[in-house]
Symmetry: C2
Subunit: 580 residues, 2 copies
């Protein structure tokens, strides 16, 4: 009995020593040094991007169905993390990884994370976050000014004005978009006799009291899937996200948008739709293109709806004057979302939502007795989330360390990389680029030269004879070949993942020169400043080599299509095939 009690006591002492306190810091420093080396090793490691382990094998490693009971030594757990976790992590910082909106990050970000964790402030409340609340407000004001550029007086008045919020720091872009649409929903159904607010009474009563049968959100087909999520969450329903087609530049088709709006407004009394928001995209996730924001702003103003710009990808480009024209009109938005873990090069994850009017966020202001009191200065009054980390320290410090000037250089570099990849792909012959890149994203596909030329020829013929039996035949052939090349690119993408020396992502676009046919494309995001021309060349060579390899299986099918494509086209295609 005495013994066991003694053991517990000594264990508690051991546990207490795990906690940070003035009188036992040595272990912290010691492990910290070891870990810095371990992290450094990780970045030096050669080898595959995704590690060669298979998913079933990983399932076998992480299959403990019971919680650990007895304590383990920190060094043993760190060793386990090193082997099992770090060893099988995706090297998203590799310059050969150009597949997603993720990149190498500046190393000082890791140091900032240490500070954030050590301070462990909770941004929800001033009692748990003092200077950090002010840092957050300053950072939000910076970005607000970058986008909306209101007067110096406006910012001086509001930068640290606790009665309002110019925006929120969120856990990611999805919550940023959700916040914007929450505010938009509130504004769409203002208080009136017999109705206090959507917030209090719900969407059902809001529609009824305002005489509508549905609330809709308009966005292009390039809209991020978080918009549908938000429509679901907000009780509007995913079906009420109306997707407007895009043009060949992946920008929303304004004429079609106008038509949709007219159709929505012109309906009979049986169905009356309230347009809750129009969303413009400043950097579509799939292609990086920017909607005509100025026009969207004008349309939104005309019909009196909230104009939100999803600039999660491209918003940070405003740091560089050169991109202001591309994003022209963003300053008329009611709200703008930006992701810090994208073009601000912060680690996962942080979103920002900004509102042009300092009054908008007051619509969702809330409080509670034990925390975030009504007349407090607590940041948590305005946010969807409750407890929030001091994430904004990262972009706040990064803007100081890198500066607008530095971001300018990084974006210039990204732009050059994108142009370089395009040139290399087009020079190779066996590729076809499928979007006009504006913000560092290139969509393309592998397509053997002779097939590419054949499609080109057919397309030219089609332009001359766009109707009639012949045209129908041509369209059928184009569809068949694209179908085959789609399958080829899916297979290529899978093979590239197995090869694992390079990485691009893959998606499907209906907006290419073959529209409305859906085309499988490879997608490169070129923001890693460590990626250079040589690396890009290596990536293309790898894709070309593996692509040609796989093509051998596909070629017989292609030849069969050609054979059946009618005497006239057959001869053309055979000639083309011989030329290649």
């Amino acid at each position: 009995m005495v013994n066991s009690k003694k053991q517990i006591k000594s264990n508690l002492e051991y546990l207490r020593k795990l906690f940070i306190m003035p009188d036992s810091p040595d272990k912290f420093i010691e492990f910290g040094h070891e870990l810095l080396e371990m992290i450094h090793d990780f970045f030096q490691q050669k080898g595959g991007i995704h590690s060669s382990i298979t998913l079933p094998e990983l399932s076998e490693i992480f299959n403990q169905t019971q919680l650990p009971h007895e304590p383990m030594l920190i060094k043993d757990v760190l060793a386990e993390i090193k082997t099992k976790v770090i060893g099988h992590s995706v090297k998203v910082g590799s310059p050969y990884y150009i597949g997603h909106m993720i990149s190498a990050i500046p190393y000082f970000m890791i140091l900032l994370e240490m500070i954030i964790a050590a301070l462990n402030q909770n941004q929800v409340k001033i009692e748990t976050a003092k200077a950090s609340s002010f840092v957050e407000r300053e950072f939000v004001a910076w970005l607000h000014r970058l986008i909306f550029n209101r007067t110096e007086r406006f910012y001086q008045k509001n930068i640290q004005n606790p009665r309002i919020a110019l925006g929120n720091i969120t856990s990611d872009g999805t919550i940023a978009n959700l916040t914007a649409l929450l505010v938009a929903r509130e504004k769409a159904f203002p208080p009136k006799k017999g109705f206090s607010s959507v917030r209090a009474e719900g969407i059902d009563r809001a529609l009824k009291q305002h005489g509508y049968t549905r609330g809709v959100i308009l966005v292009s087909t390039r809209g991020h899937y978080s918009i549908k999520k938000a429509a679901n969450l907000l009780g509007l329903g995913e079906d009420n996200v109306i997707e407007v087609p895009v043009d060949h530049m992946n920008k929303i088709d304004l004429k079609k948008l106008q038509k949709r709006i007219q159709a929505l407004q012109g309906r009979g009394k049986k169905e009356r739709a309230k347009i809750v928001a129009i969303i413009g995209i400043a950097g579509t996730t799939e292609t990086g293109n920017v909607d005509p924001l100025k026009d969207l702003a004008a349309i939104s103003r005309e019909i009196g709806t909230h104009f939100h710009v999803d600039a999660c990808w491209g918003g940070s480009a405003l740091l560089v004057d050169e991109y202001r024209e591309l994003l022209q009109g963003i300053e008329y938005a009611d709200s703008v979302s930006i992701d810090a873990h994208k073009l601000l090069y912060c680690p996962m994850a942080m979103g920002i939502i900004l509102f042009r009017s300092e009054k908008d966020l007051n619509l969702i202001k809330h409080c509670s007795r034990y925390i975030i009191r009504r007349n407090s200065v607590d940041t948590g009054r305005f946010t969807i989330e409750g407890s929030r980390p001091f994430s904004c320290l990262k972009p706040w410090a990064a803007l100081k360390i890198i500066g607008r000037e530095g971001y300018g250089l990084l974006f210039k570099r990204a732009q050059e990389c994108t142009a370089t990849l395009k040139t290399i792909l087009e020079g190779c012959g066996n590729f076809e680029t499928l979007n006009v890149p504006e913000l560092f994203i290139l969509a393309y596909r592998f397509i053997p030269e002779k097939v590419r030329i054949q499609l080109h020829t057919w397309n030219e013929q089609l332009e001359k004879h766009w109707s009639g039996k012949n045209a129908k035949e041509l369209r059928k052939n184009i569809r068949k070949v694209n179908h085959l090349i789609n399958a080829l690119n899916i297979k290529l993408h899978k093979a590239l993942r197995r090869d694992d020396t390079t990485f691009v992502s893959r998606t499907t676009l209906e907006s290419t020169r073959y529209r409305p046919q859906k085309i499988v494309v490879l997608r490169a995001v070129l923001i890693n400043p460590l990626t250079d021309r040589d690396i890009l060349q290596e990536i293309v060579q790898t894709q070309n080599r593996i692509g040609l390899d796989i093509w051998r299986e596909f070629e017989p099918v292609y030849l069969r299509i050609m054979k059946n494509s009618g005497p006239e086209k057959e001869s053309t295609s055979l000639r083309t095939a011989e030329q290649v």
Copy 2:
């Protein structure tokens, strides 16, 4: 021209060196070492908990309304952070800080944050998170088993089964609760002829098609404010969160709950309410008490509604067998939310939402073309958030390092601390404890002994003569004195914040022995393992000293109340006053 180009190039080289790469790691290690020392210094610093700087002074420090243009050296920015930010942060890890659900954290957490940032995995997708996706699933399965304890076979089958999710890692408890209620909303309005889902068609159509006029959520008055936020977000409306009164133990009053349910179900055809969810609380934020979960489960089952348990605070207590009885019934919940940054001692912020049925999260499953494809293994298919950090590494590793055994010791310690504080407060005489603590939270107030005894006397008299003119007079006196003591405690709390050597929080409870009168209480959360008896004694002494000081201003008002309280009571109170 040549010069300027050269300058840009050299700058780009400087920038590239900020990014982590194999060939320039030295700076990372160097700064890392410096930073470890800096963090260590922060923890060694003596002085106030909140730093003495005022909020207006902080406003002056963080008032740059323009983004930084030119780059600054990392060391200069770190120095700025040290002075301006770290110097004015709240020492939430101080053992004298017992005010919020935040504590010192184990130092290895900071090391884990370094790993998380260095790996920079994005949990949304397997292509950006390989081993980390599996770690997340393993961790979720551990907690699922801890709560629901389904069969070993169930966990073996599902732990790494990509077709389902047993739960999600969220940015915090608010999003965890929101996820639960999103699923509950979907289940409340299942597909039927002419109606596909709430998700697709929205809440308005859901109500209409199912023949309801409102969807309501039932929770006690101790419910966290995130429940109202969720009701707002989900389009149900905050007014449709029905708050059921609690008993003197701060547990939901089951009889009143039953009555509310009957009232909701029994209404005429004009208003028909669908009960979307009943919420039980396992550790109320204000008092740490646990609802009768077993009864709530039975009631929910009977009326066929989703039963969610908000265990953000107390869920982790299940790690220790001793607490299982207190949380009995949690295993019948449909969903349970837990915060890792509370009793799992992780840094800000991470929530967990778990669903008993492995099928529930499939109701909100989504996908998109460029990412999280339909048949993928991507974790992002099930979450409200999009991009998510590898946060779960922290509790996953902590459970290994600390073990259930270790958490048992930490909670035992927290329990002892709570009991110790109660004893010290009651021994002092000038305090009154106002809840029966179950999970490490004590609500109490400063009240000079003679006043406490007077209130006690009046209460005793009231028990004898609970009606009539005398009783009315007694009640009036009690109300007046409590009103005064409320003001005293608000003033004391503000003075304690100015004193800044110790910290407790403050709230208002309607559930004390003086109910329904609202009583201002000080709130202590006793989970910091570095807090000990001596420190608690110091904290109470400080509160007592400052409290008595402030009392001098309040006493004349008290004496006036006593003077007007009628001859009989006056003599009692004077006698009491003399005794003190």
